[in-house]
């Protein structure tokens, strides 16, 4: 569950990126966040894992007021979220498998259990056969799928993706969205930011539209 109420974000320097944004994404819901580039989509998403803090208003994630979280509590918040970034943020000095293992190494999980989970996550995105490859050897779509596997390996209840289909061909983009849909179907809350209107229409889900830092109204999609 994600709840924004009257959230504003102003960066030092004065520019107000988000203005009085309020919305609610229920547990188990799948929603798209759309809008032209520069509308504040990325900033909005960064408020959820406390990468940025709101200047005003409150951001509540799974019952926790994220804006008021102590710095030492933030890592534990992030472990319960699945984050997929526009630029994937994979590490190219290690294998696909080790990339997916990274979040599990923080939690001190037993190695056997961790390996099982990492392989399960890779299996879900259809890349189990490529576990030994270096991410640099994979296509853009495959790299994005590795990033998704890494995001879900901790079994989060909330999955957040920033432009996961940017720079991908239509087929790869569709495949990525189908993976998100599969997680949604097993009860994971999913919020996807994208500027690809065609894709959003095709899925016919709820759409949050940002323009110039303001929400247009949580109109249903399609």
């Amino acid at each position: 569950m994600i709840s924004f109420s009257r959230v504003s974000k102003r960066y030092p320097g004065g520019q107000e990126v988000l203005k009085d944004v309020s919305f609610l994404v229920d547990a188990g819901e799948l929603a798209f966040l759309t809008g032209p580039s520069g509308a504040g989509k990325s900033t909005l998403l960064k408020l959820i894992p406390a990468i940025e803090r709101p200047s005003a208003g409150s951001v509540v994630v799974n019952g926790q007021n994220v804006g008021a979280l102590k710095p030492t509590a933030i890592p534990y918040l992030r472990r319960r979220l699945g984050l997929v970034f526009q630029d994937q943020k994979l590490l190219y000095d290690r294998s696909v498998y080790d990339n997916v293992m990274l979040p599990l190494s923080f939690s001190g999980l037993a190695p056997r259990e961790a390996a099982k989970r990492a392989r399960a996550a890779l299996d879900k995105v259809g890349l189990l056969a490529r576990e030994k490859a270096n991410p640099i050897q994979l296509s853009g779509g495959e790299q994005q799928r590795v990033a998704i596997a890494r995001a879900v390996v901790n079994r989060p209840t909330l999955l957040i993706a920033d432009e996961p289909t940017a720079n991908l061909d239509e087929e790869s983009a569709l495949r990525i969205l189908e993976i998100f849909l599969a997680f949604h179907q097993v009860g994971v809350t999913v919020l996807i930011a994208t500027h690809d209107q065609a894709l959003v229409r095709r899925f016919g889900r709820r759409v949050l539209r940002l323009t110039g830092g303001r929400l247009d109204g949580a109109a249903p999609g399609a």
């Binding site: 990468i51 534990y76 590490l91 990274l102 979040p103 190494s105 190695p111």
Partner: protein
């Protein structure tokens, strides 16, 4: 508890992996630390050797008492017996003037000179050893002996021993200063290598923070890295000191043999060697700690 141990084992393994990956730079910084530490550690070993030597001198607190030449033999022998009865005297040998002349004649080159003498110029003498080897005790004993009317001159080695002891103290202070100076150097070296390591791992640190790594988790491998680097440097320093002393001893033993002793510089005691290793590891950890506190804060995901 098991999770905690696993975390530390993982951090330790990560640090070892980084050390192995560094190769050349790792070896060079360990060498720098090793050489820097070898100086005070070697100096300490040399000083300890000197102390053993001066200790041996002080253990042989010999006094030579020369009697006036007009003292009769019977009086001289009575005086010798009286001195021997003094509880402060451990052993005593009476050297009659004839014996002294004969001994001198045995020294090469002097026999002709002695043969040319009309009469024996040497006095009767008493050579004694103090029970207490301390310079104060020897000084007090010498002063008492000087008060004897039959005594012409008392020669004690305490002054020389004292000068040597003062010199050793000075040397120890110099080694201590050197150690303090080079310890800060060691901290600076680890500070810098850890800084470089943080910079090369910037991506990993940023991603790890982004997906839920605690600061403690990110810091831990760097602490181990500093610790291992310091320890490696410490072991290298011990090896350098050991090799240096072994080389020195080849000459020292030959030199000591000409003086009829079998002196050689001893390697640091196991306790001292352990202290050097632990100190180096501790300083490495400190350097890593300072570096991590300073540079990890700057890496915040955007």
């Amino acid at each position: 508890m098991r999770a905690w141990l696993r975390q530390h084992r993982r951090a330790f393994a990560a640090a070892l992996g980084k050390l192995a990956a560094q190769r050349a730079t790792g070896i060079v910084s360990a060498l720098v630390i090793g050489v820097a530490l070898a100086l005070p550690a070697g100096g300490y070993a040399l000083l300890e050797g000197m102390r053993a030597l001066t200790g041996r001198v002080a253990l042989d607190p010999q006094l030579s008492v020369f009697l006036r030449s007009d003292v009769k033999r019977t009086d001289a022998e009575t005086l010798a017996a009286r001195i021997k009865a003094d509880p402060r005297v451990a052993a005593l040998r009476f050297v009659p003037r004839e014996q002294a002349l004969k001994d001198l004649g045995a020294v090469a080159g002097l026999s002709d000179v002695i043969a040319a003498l009309e009469r024996n110029p040497l006095p009767d003498a008493v050579v004694l050893r103090s029970r207490d080897p301390g310079p104060q005790a020897i000084d007090a004993l010498a002063a008492d002996l000087r008060r004897e009317p039959a005594v012409e001159h008392v020669q004690a080695d305490a002054g020389w021993a004292r000068r040597l002891a003062a010199l050793a103290r000075l040397g120890r202070l110099a080694v201590l200063l050197l150690a303090a100076l080079l310890a800060s150097g060691l901290i600076a070296v680890t500070f810098n290598t850890i800084r470089l390591q943080i910079l090369t791992q910037r991506d990993e640190i940023e991603v790890s923070k982004l997906i839920g790594a605690t600061d403690a988790f990110i810091r831990r491998p760097f602490f181990y890295l500093g610790l291992l680097q310091g320890l490696g440097g410490g072991l290298l320093a011990l090896a350098i000191v050991w090799a240096g002393l072994a080389l020195l001893n080849v000459q020292v033993v030959a030199l000591a043999a000409t003086y009829g002793t079998n002196f050689r510089f001893a390697f640091l005691t196991p306790g001292d060697a352990l202290a050097v290793g632990l100190l180096a590891a501790g300083l490495g950890w400190l350097g890593a700690y300072l570096s991590v506190s300073r540079y990890l804060r700057d890496i915040q995901p955007k």
